[in-house]
């Protein structure tokens, strides 16, 4: 079931998506979904001052991209969340090792990279 979610745009353009806790045990009876969702957003933001003031838009969850394959490339475009393939990939956590492999031209250089890898660098 689709619910209202709040999308915040961070300074680097990446998106935070806040999902409210809509379960029956989370809220008093008789409060409409839309009202409760807004209260949840307020409660979440009250505890995250670093998110306060970020540009925000509320959308239905079923309008988010169907696949998360490009989640880190989601951007807000025309009020809708879309994956932007032009966004560069996030650096790999072991990018240094990958670069070292690319730079290696000899067996000793490759062995040095392998030692680093085995030591958990």
């Amino acid at each position: 079931m689709a619910t209202l979610v709040r999308v915040l745009t961070q300074p680097d353009g990446s998106l935070l998506v806040i999902h409210p806790a809509m379960t029956e045990r989370s809220r008093p009876p008789g409060i409409p979904d839309s009202v409760w969702a807004l209260r949840c957003f307020e409660r979440v933001l009250a505890k995250h001052p670093e998110w306060q003031g970020l540009p925000a838009v509320d959308v239905q969850s079923d309008t988010l991209p169907a696949t998360r394959a490009l989640r880190d490339k989601w951007r807000l475009t025309g009020g809708a969340v879309r994956a932007d393939p032009a966004v560069p990939d996030r650096p790999h956590p072991r990018q240094g090792l990958l670069d070292a492999v690319d730079r290696a031209n000899t067996v000793p250089e490759l062995k040095a990279v392998l030692r680093q890898l085995l030591r958990g660098a």
């Binding site: 990446s14 998506v17 999902h19 806790a21 969850s61 998360r68 989640r71 956590p93 072991r94």
Partner: protein
């Protein structure tokens, strides 16, 4: 004849209730004897239950406060709390906890099962979940913890070999914690579900 001493709030002297048999208590005022049940809209205080011996075979319904200084034993039937969001608030532990004891320290204070998109499948004491990217989930608690030194349990549901960490860079605060799901290279990876719970002082 055994006696049950019943102190009703607001009375200067205790009301002494002669006991007429199992399941039947004759009362003077403040209580309504229905033969098998005691119903009162006033506060009820029973003191010295362990020495006087209060045995009630029927049901007891107290709309007000019911305070018992002695032990309470329910032999049959569930101990049921009514509607109106009542809670059992256990005492804080002091020293070695009693065996099988319920204390405020060993109550789970919050839990959530979240889908891959940080959508809430089910939860308790959670205001919302924030999807910050692939394998990156922030749980915001509804009722805060007393300090950031509470304990978080996190597990991922997946067919892949992935690990979960509680992000240290954004240390858990009294009101939230951040969970990461990573593959063996440290790259963020979405699980199928997140499972998170927390215990600690509130």
């Amino acid at each position: 004849m055994r006696r049950i001493t019943n102190f009703l709030t607001g009375l200067l002297t205790p009301t002494v209730i002669p006991r007429a048999g199992i399941g039947r208590i004759l009362v003077a005022s403040g209580l309504t004897d229905t033969g098998t049940a005691i119903t009162t809209g006033r506060d009820v205080t029973i003191t010295g239950a362990t020495t006087v011996g209060a045995v009630i075979a029927g049901a007891v319904t107290a709309t007000g406060t019911m305070s018992v200084t002695g032990a309470v034993t329910v032999n049959t039937g569930p101990l049921t709390l009514g509607t109106g969001n009542p809670a059992i608030v256990p005492a804080a532990v002091s020293g070695t906890p009693a065996q099988h004891g319920l204390y405020r320290e060993n109550v789970i204070k919050g839990w959530v099962k979240a889908g891959v998109a940080a959508n809430v499948i089910d939860s308790f004491n959670v205001s919302g979940l924030t999807d910050s990217g692939t394998g990156d989930l922030t749980v915001t608690w509804d009722r805060d913890f007393a300090t950031g030194d509470y304990v978080i349990g996190s597990m991922l549901q997946s067919d892949l070999l992935i690990i979960t960490t509680i992000l240290n860079g954004t240390a858990p605060s009294v009101g939230s914690c951040r969970i990461r799901s990573l593959d063996n290279t440290g790259t963020g990876t979405d699980p199928v579900f997140y499972h998170v719970f927390a215990v600690g002082d509130q």
